[in-house]
Symmetry: C2
Subunit: 150 residues, 2 copies
C-alpha cells in the first residue's frame, strides 16, 4: 500500500500575465502573495499565493517555445496541474512505475519548492499530476537542495 500524500501542495494555473491575474487571486479572492520568481531554465515566471496548507501557483510563459506556452496558445488560460506532497519521492516513482503509471520524470528533479516529478496525464485521467517531496526527505540531500526554514 502507498503512503498517503500529506497535502495538496499547490494547484497550478497557466496565465497570460501574473500581474493581471493577481487582481483575481490576491485582490479579489484574498490569497496572500508569497513569492514571484523567474525560472529561466523553464522559461516561465511563477507566483505562489498561500491558502491554508496549500498554494495557488500562477505560471506565465516568458517565451513561445515551451510546453506551457503551447498549452496557453491552444487551450487558453486555465488549470495546468495539481501537486501532491509525498514523503519519499523516489520510492513513489519506483512504485508507480512498476504499477504502469507513465512517468514524465522517472527520477526526482529540482523544482522551485523542492524535489519534484510529473506523472503523465495519460495515466491520470487527463490530469497532470506533480509530486513534490516533503521538506527534509531523502531527495533533498540527493539533489543538493536545502529545505526552507520553517
Amino acid at each position: 500500500m502507498p503512503l498517503p500524500p500529506g497535502r495538496v501542495h499547490h494547484v497550478a494555473v497557466v496565465v497570460r500575465s501574473i500581474d493581471a491575474s493577481l487582481r483575481l487571486w490576491r485582490d479579489l479572492l484574498g490569497l496572500e502573495l508569497e513569492t514571484v520568481m523567474e525560472i529561466p531554465t523553464d522559461r516561465v515566471r511563477i507566483a505562489f499565493l498561500g491558502v491554508g496548507e496549500s498554494k495557488i501557483e500562477l505560471v506565465e510563459p516568458t517565451d513561445e517555445t515551451t510546453g506551457v506556452a503551447r498549452f496557453l496558445a491552444s487551450k487558453g488560460e486555465g488549470f495546468h496541474h495539481v501537486c501532491l506532497e509525498v514523503d519519499s519521492l523516489s520510492d513513489e516513482l519506483t512504485r508507480l512505475g512498476i504499477e504502469g503509471v507513465e512517468l514524465i520524470d522517472s527520477a526526482p528533479r529540482r523544482g522551485a519548492e523542492g524535489p519534484v516529478a510529473f506523472l503523465h496525464p495519460r495515466s491520470c485521467g487527463g490530469v497532470l499530476v506533480e509530486l513534490i517531496e516533503a521538506p527534509g526527505g531523502p531527495s533533498w540531500r540527493a539533489l543538493g537542495m536545502t529545505p526552507p526554514k520553517p
Copy 2:
C-alpha cells in the same frame, strides 16, 4: 480587503467512471476514499478522497444532459473546478459581485458539503472557482443545513 479563504476545500476532476478512477487516486496515489454519493438533482455521482485538509472530488455524469456531461464529451476527463473555503459566503458573493466578478450563483445554494456558489471562469482566468462556506457560517442556518460533526 477580503478575508483570506481558509483552505482549498477540494479540487474536482471530471471522470468517465468513479470506479475506474479509484485505481489512480485511491489505489496508486494512496488517498483515502471518504464517500461516494449520487446527487440526483445534478445527475452526477461524486466521490471525495481526503488529502491533508483538502479533498479530491471525482465527478461522474449519470446522464448526457448536464454541463458536466457536455464537458466530458467535448474536453474529455480532466480538471473541472477548484473550491475555496470562506467564512461568509453571502458576504463574499456581495463583495465579488460589486467588484464585477461574474457569478454563476448569485446567492449561496445547497451543495453536497455545505453552502456553495460558483464564479464564472470568464472572470477567473479560465478557472471554474467554487466557494464553500466553512461549517457553522451564516448560510448553513439560512439554507437549513446542519454542519457535519467534527
